[in-house]
C-alpha cells in the first residue's frame, strides 16, 4: 500500500505502528524528524557528540513509550520534541549544567524580537508569541533561554544579572501569566 506519508499529520499513525514494535516505522519517524530534533538537542547541549547521544537516548525512549502518545493531548511533533528536550536536559543535569553561560552563540538569536516571528508559523505559535510579547522583557527572555537552551534558574540569573530568588519568582509569575493568556 503506497501513500504519501510526508505530512506531519502522518506521525500519529507512525507512532501507533512503533508502539506495535514496527522498527521501519521508527526509522520513518527518525528520517522525518531527525534534523529538527537534533537541532533541539544541540541548542541545549551545544556539543554535537553530546546532542547525538541525547537523540539516541530519546529514540530509545520513543520506541519504548510510543504507545503512550495520545493525539488528544497535542501534536506528535510536540510529544517527540518533549522527549528529546528531556533527554538533553537529563544529560545537562548529569554533568552539572557546567556549560558556560557566556557562550556568545547562546541566546543571541532567541532574544531578538524577530526570532519570535519564527515561532509564529502556526496558530498556536502566534498565540504563544503574542502572550510572550505581553510579558516583561526579562521575564520573556528567562523563559525562552530556559526552554530553548536548557538554562537553569541560576544560569538565567547569571546571564540577566539578577538575584537567583528574583529570577525564580519572575519565571513562576511569567508561567502563570502565560497560562492565563493562552487559556
Amino acid at each position: 500500500m503506497l501513500r504519501r506519508m510526508d505530512a506531519a499529520t502522518d506521525l500519529g499513525p507512525l507512532l501507533a505502528a512503533v508502539a506495535h514494535g514496527d522498527r521501519a516505522a521508527l526509522r520513518a519517524v527518525y528520517e522525518r524528524q531527525a534534523a529538527r530534533l537534533f537541532g533541539v538537542a544541540n541548542a541545549i547541549l551545544r556539543d554535537r557528540d553530546a546532542a547525538a547521544d541525547a537523540l539516541q537516548d530519546a529514540f530509545l525512549r520513543i520506541a519504548r513509550r510510543a504507545g503512550q502518545y495520545d493525539p488528544a493531548r497535542g501534536p506528535a511533533e510536540a510529544w517527540l520534541a518533549a522527549i528529546v528536550r528531556h533527554a538533553a536536559l537529563d544529560a545537562v543535569r548529569a554533568r552539572g549544567r557546567e556549560i558556560p553561560t557566556d557562550d556568545p552563540a547562546l541566546g543571541d538569536q532567541p532574544v531578538e524580537a524577530d526570532a519570535l516571528e519564527r515561532v509564529a508559523a502556526s496558530a498556536e505559535g502566534r498565540r504563544l508569541r503574542d502572550c510572550l510579547a505581553a510579558l516583561e522583557e526579562k521575564n520573556r527572555t528567562g523563559i525562552v533561554l530556559a526552554f530553548v537552551h536548557g538554562l537553569s534558574h541560576a544560569q538565567v540569573a547569571a546571564r540577566l544579572d539578577l538575584p537567583l530568588g528574583t529570577v525564580k519568582a519572575w519565571i513562576r509569575r511569567g508561567l502563570l501569566r502565560l497560562r492565563e493568556c493562552l487559556a
Partner: protein
C-alpha cells in the same frame, strides 16, 4: 513530593516542561507522570503550550551513523513490549520468565478448562496487567491488578488477526476488569494481536482505535500439561 494542590501541581508541571527543575525534582516528576494520569495530562498541556518555541532551535543534520547506532542499541534487548510477544512463548527474554511464573501460579489457583490460546498484556513497565484466554470462539479478559482508566476515558479491547488491515473492537472493558466476548467476524487464532486503547467515554467514535495503546500482546498456543 508531588503536591496535591492543583495550582502547585500545575506550577510544578510547568517548570518540569520548561526544564528548570533540579535533577532530583525532575526525576521525581518523570516517575510520577508514569503512574499519575492527571499529572501526565497537566505536563502534556504545558509541553504543547511551549512546543512552538522549539522552532527557535536551528535544524541541523545529525551525524550520518546515528540511525545505525540507535538501531544497534535497540537490538540486544528489545524493550518494545509488542516485540517480546511477537515470538510467542519460546523466547528467553528476562521479563517473560517472570510473567510465565506469575501465569503458572494463576493457573494453579484456577483449575478451569484450559484455553487454546492465551497471552498476558503487559504495562509499559512490563508488569502483567491483563490475562487474555481464548477457548472455542470466546475471548476472555481478566484483570491482573490493573489500575482503572482515568474518569473521563474508557478502556476498549481490540483484536487484530494476522494479515488483517484493521483491528476489530471487542467492546469496552467494564469497571470490574472482566469481559468475555464471542466475536462474530473473527476467530481467535495464534498470532492474533490483542490490544487495549484509551478512548473517549462510550468508546472510539470511528470504529478504529483513536487513543494510545495501553496494553498489547499476541495470542499464543496455551501450554498443555
Amino acid at each position: 513530593m508531588i503536591p496535591a494542590d492543583p495550582e502547585a501541581r500545575d506550577a510544578l508541571a510547568a517548570e518540569y516542561a520548561l526544564g528548570t527543575l533540579e535533577a532530583r525534582e525532575a526525576a521525581e516528576v518523570a516517575r510520577a507522570v508514569e503512574r499519575d494520569p492527571d499529572l501526565a495530562a497537566t505536563v502534556a498541556r504545558w509541553e504543547a503550550r511551549f512546543a512552538p518555541l522549539t522552532a527557535l532551535a536551528t535544524p541541523e543534520a545529525p551525524p550520518p551513523d546515528l540511525w545505525s547506532r540507535i538501531e544497534g542499541a535497540l537490538d540486544p534487548a528489545p524493550r518494545v513490549v509488542a516485540r517480546r510477544w511477537l515470538d510467542g512463548w519460546k523466547l528467553g527474554a528476562f521479563g517473560a520468565t517472570a510473567v510465565a511464573a506469575g501465569l503458572a501460579a494463576f493457573l494453579l489457583l484456577r483449575p478451569a478448562p484450559q484455553p487454546q490460546f492465551m497471552t498476558v498484556l503487559l504495562t509499559d513497565r512490563e508488569q502483567p496487567a491483563w490475562l487474555v484466554q481464548a477457548e472455542g470462539g470466546d475471548i476472555r479478559l481478566s484483570s491482573l491488578n490493573t489500575r482503572p482508566a482515568p474518569p473521563d476515558r474508557a478502556l476498549q479491547l481490540w483484536a487484530l488477526p494476522q494479515g488483517a488491515a484493521a483491528p476489530t473492537s471487542l467492546g469496552l472493558i467494564p469497571h470490574d476488569g472482566r469481559l468475555t466476548v464471542r466475536p462474530t467476524t473473527i476467530r481467535p487464532s495464534p498470532g492474533m494481536l490483542i490490544e487495549i486503547t484509551l478512548e473517549p467515554p462510550g468508546g472510539s467514535p470511528t470504529g478504529r482505535p483513536t487513543g494510545p495503546v495501553q496494553f498489547i500482546g499476541r495470542l499464543a498456543p496455551a501450554i498443555r500439561s
